[in-house]
Symmetry: C2
Subunit: 249 residues, 2 copies
């Protein structure tokens, strides 16, 4: 696992020094973003790391460290300017980019995702709904027509689709992923319970809903066991999940 080896930062001399943001921090930035969005609606103009930590469910030291990777944008004795912080985070996460997203596989989950407001609210525009079932093609979901998977190449090209959400049944996932890659998609959010094999330059991130339940089940059960022997057990406040981002050329 190699990430921006030492030499890089110095070689990118022209622009501001490229900070390497830890993966764990990247995973938390969207949470801060969400919390800050809610705060700004409450007319909060300034927020301390303590308060932000409380709202995000983490501790203050972590918040400060995380935000320090974005640069020193806080004011000592005061806190962070909410608007500015929102801007910085959205910049860092690329939410200012207006990504075109295609949802592939309009079954139950695909439909739910298409209707899910949370995506568009974060700068992810749903640019296409694709399915290979002729019975579905042409019907409307979330005010959009379902288009046929065979149109993939054209659609990806014309609408500059960079990210695809894969919500097809597990057996079909690999072959559909192959088609996505061939069409030029370079990031895939995979909801199918499979490990996709893709070229190194394609990013895959897995979300497996059943796995989440299994992890809950583990801690649930262990807690009961612990009570049985009369012992108190605290589970850590942050558990990493069975998702992966794969490679980059």
């Amino acid at each position: 696992m190699t990430v921006e080896r030492g030499g890089l930062a110095s070689r990118v001399s022209g622009e501001r020094t490229r900070r390497k943001i830890p993966e764990a921090t990247v995973a938390r930035l969207p949470v801060y973003f969400r919390v800050l969005l809610a705060s700004v609606e409450h007319k909060t103009t300034t927020i301390s790391s303590d308060r932000l930590a409380e709202l995000a469910g983490v501790n203050a030291a972590k918040v400060r460290k995380d935000l320090s990777y974005l640069g020193s944008y806080g004011t000592r004795g005061v806190g962070y300017d909410v608007e500015f912080l929102l801007y910085q985070i959205s910049q860092e996460l690329g939410l200012t980019n207006d990504w075109a997203v295609a949802i592939v596989g309009i079954g139950n989950l695909g439909q739910a995702l298409a209707n899910y407001g949370g995506f568009s609210a974060r700068g992810f525009r749903i640019a296409a709904l694709l399915d290979s079932d002729p019975a579905k093609v042409g019907t409307m979901v979330a005010d959009r027509p379902i288009e046929h998977l065979d149109e993939l190449d054209r659609i990806v090209h014309e609408r500059a689709v960079a990210i695809a959400v894969l919500a097809v049944p597990a057996p079909a996932s690999q072959s559909v992923a192959d088609r996505l890659v061939r069409a030029g998609v370079t990031s895939i959010l995979n909801f199918a319970p499979t490990v996709l094999s893709v070229p190194a330059e394609v990013l895959v991130r897995d979300v497996d809903l059943a796995i989440e339940l299994q992890i809950l089940s583990f801690y649930h059960r262990r807690r009961l066991d612990s009570f049985a022997v009369g012992t108190t057990v605290a589970v850590g406040t942050s558990v990493s999940v069975g998702t992966t981002v794969e490679a980059v050329g």
Copy 2:
């Protein structure tokens, strides 16, 4: 974050020594489980850490270390017995328990989750679908009637619901969570984009679909930047996610 301090293992003298399984390992066990399930259908009786690693998208050393926490169940020179490993993992994850799960909030996502086969296939029985919308109550989803949220206490009690899947709109999530807790639910899989505040003995695990896209977006963008300065950047193969498990009494 205290987890089964040293002294405990020795005190639980009767049964086999209680191993502390790292969080990261817990998150991967379900992946191995999934892969092994598929292997067993292919009539594979034995599997090496190398092969399992390939199928699970991790490296062999990690697989061996992870499995070693379950005990020494492999055979040197041969590999692991697939059936036995499946048994051990399901045991450890508590999948032999037949959990009763209630899905609360039958909107798009709740409906999709109700229809998602992956849950029942892993020992999670959907015991109730709940919603507070009178128009929905009584209608059938996935061969089950939607029941009213007011029945919560009775249902949780009668059907021994231990885990709830929370799929209500964000503004309602905290109050519904409070009701779940009062009814006796001790583990919650939260799909609402909020940080729930619950008593320490309740486990919460968050899944935020928009966050996943934002994380993808970050790496997608950074990769482009890197190309722009003519540099190759490899992103780690395992990224932790913005989900949390909270406390335990």
